[in-house]
């Protein structure tokens, strides 16, 4: 055969034989199979980020899967807990990044929109706290894509809200809220951005250094851009969002509480930054939780948990923790309760049913902190001529000491004898109080234990709480394994604790206490503490 013909055959042979590369889409999609254990519902990723009761529903709770983001409605009556449905995925669209999640349903991938608005690198929403607002809508904070996302607890699908930003004015600069549409444009979305520029003279970070203006914010003034959306709460017609504003641990910008008008008289609800007071600066760094609280006189307050700046490995606090008190009517920070270098826990405050004692865990140690809510009873607190915020540490004349357990006298939880060394594992604790106020339960992440605590409060709100007697240890319960190499394969690394309302076996079946676990797999677990 002529050599030229042979060459032609060879030339054509290549593409004919190779064809086009495949995209690995034939056959079944790669499935990661997750099986429940005897007491835990296994979900994806490493640590579930949220667990919360559904108001008015004793038999179910909502839990958040971290990656891929999803909301579960968990049946607490079964053992192990089961999910009422297989949650749908968040919608995805074409994107220049590998993840094209469009969680706010604006038709543009979250990451692409973020890049287009000047916030670099590919991002995707990382869920945090979940807060059921009503039977059809739960708010979920997400960071990396800083926003509050709305999901339906009935089926895990996205729920719409309507964005409605105010017009520019002395208290509101649209340029600071660059993710929001301009006034008059009211699109329907399934999430709203919690990014805003906060500027002012003299801002320093938690290490005492001036803060450089970030991208998209005014380069001529000290300022920062909010990030690490931590918690969300609704009080009346206002929706509050706490942002931690992390620069790089242990460097934080001042903490903030963002205020939004939340109009539920229409469907879908309308949300927009408050026109005059959209940003409340906190007195300490690292705002991590929001707890609505109504005083005996009916005043609506918001208790803001401030962890303080902490080291990245959780070994120590760099700045003090505190609980700030916000008047949700005047939108002012009226008081603060300093707690010292305790590293207030991330899971928020647990309040006893008599509204006297509020307890919180710690992000650093095997201990609890607590405050006396009677210190907030005065209906004129913060309305007088005093400089705000009023410091309720017993050192401000005319004002009580609201601290029960703080840096100088934390409530230490018992240590598990076979648990990891405190110098190796820096524990985190979470606490919940039974709906009848009879006991509290505190979880310890390193030891894998729960401590049942009796609560003994004085009969009168005028009588000071005695730190020595208000809490007593009933018993320590080893609900999971400690964070040790010898525990490999066992459930451990436990977090948020939740006590079911009602009497076990009378008002409900199944376990009476639930918690989140991060190892070996992300789990929602039930355990019988008082339930037989």
């Amino acid at each position: 055969m002529p050599t030229r013909f042979n060459f032609l055959v060879t030339f054509l042979l290549g593409p004919a034989l190779l064809g086009c590369p495949g995209d690995a889409s034939d056959g079944q999609a790669p499935l990661r199979i997750l099986n429940s254990t005897a007491s835990c519902l296994t979900i994806a990723a490493k640590f579930p980020s949220g667990l919360a009761k559904i108001p008015g529903n004793d038999r179910e709770a909502v839990a958040i899967q971290f990656d891929p983001p999803a909301l579960f409605r968990v049946n607490l009556e079964t053992e192990p807990p089961t999910s009422a449905f297989v949650p749908p995925p968040l919608p995805e669209v074409l994107s220049t990044c590998s993840s094209g999640v469009d969680s706010d349903s604006d038709g543009i991938a979250d990451s692409d929109r973020s890049v287009a608005l000047g916030i670099p690198r590919c991002r995707k929403p990382q869920p945090g706290t979940v807060r059921p607002l009503d039977p059809t809508r739960a708010a979920v904070t997400t960071s990396d894509i800083e926003q509050v996302l709305f999901l339906d607890p009935r089926d895990g699908s996205l729920r719409h809200i309507q964005l409605d930003a105010p017009a520019a004015g002395p208290g509101f600069d649209p340029d600071d809220w660059f993710f929001w549409p301009l006034a008059g444009v009211t699109p329907y979305r399934t999430a709203f951005s919690t990014i805003t520029c906060v500027d002012g003279p003299g801002f320093v970070d938690s290490l005492g250094d001036p803060i450089l203006a970030p991208l998209r914010c005014d380069p001529l003034v000290n300022g920062f851009r909010t990030n690490l959306t931590a918690d969300v709460a609704v009080v009346g017609s206002r929706l509050f969002v706490a942002t931690s504003n992390l620069i790089q641990a242990p460097r934080y910008a001042p903490g903030t509480v963002l205020v939004f008008d939340y109009d539920t008289s229409i469907d879908p609800p309308r949300v927009g930054p408050h026109a005059t007071n959209a940003v409340i600066l906190t007195s300490a760094y690292n705002a991590t939780s929001l707890t609505p609280y109504q005083t005996p006189s009916g005043r609506d307050l918001l208790l803001v948990g401030l962890t303080g700046a902490i080291q990245g490995d959780g070994s120590a606090a760099v700045t003090p923790a505190a609980i700030d008190v916000v008047d949700t009517d005047t939108l002012t920070l009226i008081a603060t309760i300093p707690l010292g270098l305790t590293g207030l826990g991330f899971s928020g405050l647990a309040i006893d049913p008599s509204n006297r004692l509020a307890l919180a865990g710690s992000a650093l140690r095997r201990q609890l902190v607590g405050i006396d809510l009677a210190a907030l009873d005065d209906p004129t607190l913060g309305l007088g001529p005093q400089t705000l915020p009023i410091v309720l540490d017993g050192m401000t004349p005319g004002f009580p000491d609201a601290r029960v357990f703080s840096e100088s006298n934390p409530f230490a939880l018992p240590k598990r004898p076979d648990g990891p060394l405190d110098t190796v594992c820096f524990s985190q604790t979470s606490v919940d109080i039974k709906d009848d106020g009879s006991f509290a339960l505190a979880s310890d992440r390193c030891d894998g234990t729960m401590t049942r605590l009796f609560i003994s409060l004085p009969a009168s709100r005028l009588t000071a709480i005695d730190p020595g007697t208000v809490l007593t240890v009933d018993r320590r319960i080893d609900v999971a394994a400690p964070l040790l190499p010898s525990s490999t394969g066992e459930t451990r690394d436990i977090g948020r604790v939740l006590i079911r309302d009602g009497t076990p076996t009378v008002d409900f079946q199944g376990p009476d206490v639930y918690y989140l676990a991060g190892e070996e797999a992300a789990s929602v677990c039930g355990v019988r503490i008082d339930a037989l």
Binding site: P21, L31, P68, Q248, P485, T488
Partner: protein, 680 residues
């Protein structure tokens, strides 16, 4: 399985002519490039849419001696046959029973090896007897070495610490480099494939006076980016769109130079292996990053030996051999992540260099007596490692070892027993005694039994000990060495029949390893991961291989490996170890003319954790290749020194299924490559 090398005439002088041949080579490469362009255009259109012991009998040239003990489960892989099939190093290793290959990407992606349920750190990799796994991580990344510089791959399954020292808990891999032949030879190979992959090699071997010279270069460049289906959890919340695996490029260069000279009573050899790798590190599929890594290593080995038996005149029945080796290895790694690690806002740049020096002296004396032949060998070895890094203080470590080994053969070599004892000590660690006993017996011509029992261990690596404390991760200077006890029993039945249609073997091996203090990276605090020693685990299982050669043109091999790697405390499976693997292969054709190969690979469920509640589903993948020598077909013009010109087409994952060897790291879908290799 007999491996027939091409009986090529290598007596001609070597020159590559510029006319004629390059046009054909470039034609194939150009057509491959055209295929890729067409496919890229198709992609653009779619952009609007979403998204037994195996022992090989070698005929022909001298092969490297197998430096393993009788009774060890060792497979020898002929690299030239692998190159004919368009295979890569990981393709060949994946077919060995008991071996599980973890590919973390595409053509240039990182490749790890697990043998009999071991971790990658428990399989040391050697080049001609010298360690080449990373001194930093104790892990051998086989993607840095190409087949073209190798002559053979020897895979020993089961404890190899008696022979190899620290690390050989699961087994060991010995890469045997090419050596010069009596006749000069040049091989040129060029190929291309999907994902913008181009690779090629040049090898030349000859005698220059008294010196044997062997030089080889191989290179690979790939854009690497491929489409894949995202992993979906059964709990919900995810679906599996088609995504693009980005930042997957790789650029690899490997050179090997060997010089050798025979003196009156000794042989001198110098070997240098240089590797350079520059590739993207996209990370997990759920959070693809723009990180990249760059590495280079240079291994230099100087060896003086008397490989031929020298008569000891004072005792004619005694033979004596000795070998002195001095090896130096330099390794440099750079890792850069513009997006920062562990929540950092600043780019991460980590640079590490490692230098290792290994002097070794061994002597072997062969004695005939006591009714058999006995080989007594003594080895003494030192090791010095030094690590420097931009994020940690420099560290050094001394080590030394001595090994005594006896191999005795009786009854006309039908019974072979080999006990050995190795003493090893590293700076800062206790002395380790490593005993081993291997036994092999040919009961009949067609029935062989083998058994072995040994201890093995692994000293912690520099990274495990001294990883800087960054808050979210840290090393652990209190780590203790991993420790293991291994046993195995095996039987090999060769066909006793003379009929070709019944020609074949069945080989079965049972293995058991008790491993204590395995080193893993685990959460020790809510925000921190560190290296820790685990409690005991047990790896047990079996390997079954059936080989059938009914005709000179037909060769069929099927193998199945079942591995139960479980933690003793809760009896749950260890992560990353497949429950079972089954591989089937059919080869058709006379190997000196053409070869058609079809392969099927089944991998069972892959646990993702040690709680038994998270695993990847099983899958089946198909590969195939076709190779033909164009010279006998007169498809090439007459060229005096062209002995053969092999055209090979290989297809991987022909079923286009979603593959993962570990969660979070997808592999490409259906892909192919085409190569042309000329031998002069």
């Amino acid at each position: 399985m007999p491996v027939l090398l091409r009986n090529s005439d290598r007596s001609r002088a070597l020159r590559v002519h510029a006319a004629g041949q390059p046009a054909r080579f470039f034609g194939v490469v150009a057509s491959t490039a055209a295929a890729c362009v067409l496919c890229a255009q198709a992609d653009a259109v779619r952009a609007d849419e979403l998204e037994g012991v195996e022992e090989m009998v070698v005929v022909g040239d001298e092969r490297a001696p197998m430096d393993v003990l009788a009774g060890a489960s060792t497979t020898r892989i002929d690299v030239d046959q692998g190159l004919l099939e368009g295979a890569r190093l990981d393709d060949l290793l994946a077919e060995v029973p008991g071996v599980q290959v973890r590919r973390l990407g595409g053509a240039g992606g990182s490749v790890e090896l697990s043998i009999r349920g071991s971790s990658p750190q428990q399989v040391p990799v050697f080049l001609d007897g010298i360690r080449i796994e990373s001194g930093l991580t104790s892990r051998g990344d086989l993607s840095t070495v190409c087949l073209d510089v190798l002559d053979e791959i020897q895979v020993t399954r089961g404890a190899g610490a008696a022979r190899a020292g620290s690390g050989g808990i699961g087994g060991l891999v010995n890469l045997v480099p090419r050596k010069a032949q009596a006749e000069p030879e040049t091989r040129v190979r060029i190929g291309g494939g999907h994902f913008g992959t181009v690779e090629g090699s040049v090898r030349h071997a000859r005698m220059l006076g008294p010196w044997s010279v062997n030089a080889a270069y191989c290179g690979l460049q790939t854009d690497g980016d491929f489409k894949f289906q995202r992993e979906r959890p059964s709990s919900g919340g995810g679906f599996s769109p088609i995504e693009r695996r980005r930042n997957n490029k790789a650029d690899r260069h490997t050179t090997l130079v060997r010089l050798g000279r025979d003196f009156e009573s000794a042989r001198l050899e110098l070997t240098q292996l240089f590797t350079h790798l520059d590739r993207g590190a996209p990370g997990l599929e759920t959070n693809q990053r723009r990180a990249d890594e760059r590495g280079a290593s240079l291994l230099s080995v100087l060896r003086l030996s008397n490989p031929d038996a020298v008569d000891d005149e004072s005792a004619p029945s005694h033979l004596w051999q000795w070998k002195a080796t001095l090896a130096h290895r330099f390794e440099e790694n750079r890792f850069r992540d513009p997006e920062g690690l562990g929540g950092s806002l600043f780019p991460s740049k980590i640079g590490t260099t490692l230098q290792s020096v290994t002097p070794r002296l061994s002597t072997t004396r062969i004695h005939t007596g006591f009714g058999g032949e006995h080989s007594f060998s003594l080895l003494v070895e030192g090791r010095f490692d030094h690590r420097a890094s931009n994020e940690a203080k420099s560290k050094s470590r001394w080590g030394g070892s001595a090994r005594v080994e006896v191999t005795s053969a009786w009854f006309d070599n039908r019974l072979r027993i080999s006990p050995s004892l190795r003493l090893e000590r590293f700076d800062g660690l206790d002395a380790e005694w490593i005993p081993a006993l291997f036994v092999e017996m040919d009961l009949t011509d067609w029935l062989r039994l083998k058994a072995s029992a040994s201890r093995s261990y692994r000293a912690p690596s520099f990274q495990e000990l001294y990883l800087p404390d960054k808050g979210f991760e840290r090393g652990n200077e209190d780590l203790r060495p991993e420790d293991a006890q291994n046993v195995e029993f095996g039987v090999r039945i060769s066909s006793p029949f003379e009929s070709d249609w019944l020609d074949g073997e069945i080989e079965f091996t049972y293995f058991l390893a008790e491993i204590d203090r395995s080193i893993v990276f685990q959460k020790v605090s809510p925000s921190t991961f560190a290296f820790v020693n685990l409690d005991a685990s047990t790896n047990r299982g079996h390997e079954l291989t059936v080989t059938w050669r009914p005709h000179d043109w037909i060769r069929i091999v099927a193998s199945r490996t079942v591995t139960e790697a479980r933690l003793d405390s809760n009896d749950e499976r260890l992560p990353g170890i497949a429950v079972s693997q089954t591989d089937g292969r059919i080869e058709l054709g006379p190997r000196d003319r053409f070869k058609l190969v079809g392969e099927v690979h089944y991998t069972g469920r892959l646990p993702n954790n040690t709680a038994g509640n998270d695993f990847l589903a099983s899958r089946v993948a198909y590969d195939a290749s076709a190779a033909v020598d164009l010279v006998p077909l007169s498809f090439t013009p007459t060229f005096p020194t062209l002995e053969s010109l092999w055209l090979t087409v290989r297809g991987r994952n022909l079923g286009n299924v979603a593959l993962r060897d570990t969660s979070g790291f997808p592999r490409p879908g259906r892909s192919g490559s085409i190569t042309l290799e000329g031998v002069f």
